[in-house]
Amino acid sequence: MSIIRDFEEAVKVLNDMVAEGVIEQYAIGGGVATMMHVEAIMTMDLDAFVEPTATASGLVSFERVFRYLSERGYDEFSNNCVLIEGIPVDFVPPDALAAEAVECAIPAIVGSTSFMVFRPEYLLAIYRKIRRPKDMAKADAIMKECPIDMDLADDIFRRHGVKWL
């Protein structure tokens, strides 16, 4: 199916952004990262956590990212996501917990292309922090379906003030 090729091309664009210095680093979180660790789940966009650029006024901006993408022909948006090879990519500015998840991201592979995804322990902490019903369901799936480093998870929960239950 072409979805695999399209997804691979989309993450290649993210890798190119790092190689060309447009962004320092990125990591995939949200539903797609969860799907790396558990069975396929429904999701509508690809969450790319990227530190935005601070402007002189103090505001943060993804303008550099969107300009780069536009120059490569990716200037179509859908629900606040930019379409890269038909994949809706949501560029998300990380909070302290997600920023640490980006720092500690692990490589995954699609086709022959490597890309960075959140570790399950960080996804668990993020879902337990947000606590919407759909996040709690994803947290439960992670607990049931994939091996968790409980010492690491406990440390993340404690440092970021996330409750286990």
């Binding site: 695999i4 399209d6 997804f7 799907m35 429904m42 509508m44 966009d45 859908s78 799936a141 049931k144």
Partner: protein, 60 residues
């Protein structure tokens, strides 16, 4: 529960699905999105052409 002939053990079905290659999961996701768009007009209205994922082939 499913029975694994190779190991002679029972495994939880969801755990087995979790171990599928990511590429298989992507294909499953696209099937789920296609079905959701076909069955639910709200999803169709909200996400329109961005689902299912992937570059659309030109049709003439």
């Amino acid at each position: 529960m499913i029975y694994d002939k190779r190991t002679g053990t029972k495994d939880d079905h969801r755990s087995a699905m979790a171990k599928l290659p990511f590429e298989k999961k992507l294909e499953q996701l696209v099937r789920m999105q296609t079905l959701a768009a076909a069955l639910n007009p709200k999803i169709r209205a909200k996400y329109g052409d961005s689902i299912p994922w992937g570059k659309k082939e030109a049709t003439t």
